[in-house]
């Protein structure tokens, strides 16, 4: 499965990238699985997801919970709680 992954705010700063296209193993089925898999990629991902409770996720532009299934998604985004307005 190929996914576009996007990172925003301090998640972007910690991972050191704004976006990337990744081929993700089939067993990575949920957003939570994806986070676990990403943290195996290096210390910058471990740092970005060290406190998973403060990282939010969106699938194809819609906010989702960590147990959301990835099946069919094209774009996954990770970011801190929003602070606009």
């Amino acid at each position: 499965m190929t996914l576009k992954i996007r990172y925003f705010a301090w998640v972007r700063e910690q991972t050191g990238r704004a976006e990337e296209d990744l081929v993700v193993p089939e067993e990575v089925a949920s957003v939570g699985d994806l986070i676990a898999w990403l943290t195996t990629r290096g210390p910058e991902f471990e740092a970005a997801f060290a406190r998973p409770e403060v990282v939010r996720a969106a699938l194809d532009h819609v906010h989702v919970a960590p147990d959301a299934a990835l099946a069919g998604a094209r774009e996954v985004a990770f970011f801190p709680p929003v602070t606009g307005g």
Binding site: A9, W10, A58, H61, V62, V82, T83, G84, G85
Partner: protein, 156 residues
């Protein structure tokens, strides 16, 4: 109507555009959010608003749709800026128009509460010493949001 833009906006011009040629509106509420010169007790010199192009528009349209479903609005507008802003600058504008004042007030407050907690914007503040830090989400924004959920349950 929603707009996500780097440029400033003009409150008077936006209200005039909404009212132009109409005589059925009775109440117009505007909310303008502006950059304050202090944050957490410390002076700030600027802030940068990052957002998620594509998702921002989806979220603001969803929030506006919820307000239109809930109140008898004749018009609504959300403008949210991104980029670097200085104290005193405009950040966000919400305008609601309705035959009745309570609908206009409630819908504007609802739009602000919802976009504060769901629109993908992140503020990074710069202090006078040049230090930059990401703003933490405020618990009071979640609390503000909950009152609309309570109201909805009570009405069901």
């Amino acid at each position: 109507m929603i707009r996500v833009q780097e440029e400033d906006f003009d409150i008077g011009a936006e209200v005039a555009a909404i009212r132009r040629g109409r005589t059925d509106i009775g109440a117009i509420v505007t909310f303008t959010g502006t950059v304050r010169d202090v944050a957490g007790g410390e002076p700030i010199s600027a802030m940068t608003l990052e957002h998620y192009p594509g998702m921002t528009e989806v979220e603001l349209a969803r929030v506006e749709g919820n307000a239109l479903a809930r109140w008898p609005l004749q018009a609504s507008l959300i403008i949210h800026r991104y980029g670097r802003l200085e104290p005193g600058d405009n950040i966000v504008l919400v305008v609601t128009a309705s035959p009745h004042r309570q609908a206009a007030f409630e819908a504007a407050a609802f739009l602000m509460d919802y976009l504060k907690t769901s629109a993908p914007f992140w503020k990074k503040e710069e202090t006078a010493t040049g230090e930059a830090r990401w703003v933490d989400a405020r618990e009071s924004d979640d609390t503000a949001l909950k009152r609309w959920r309570r109201t909805k349950r009570a009405a069901e």
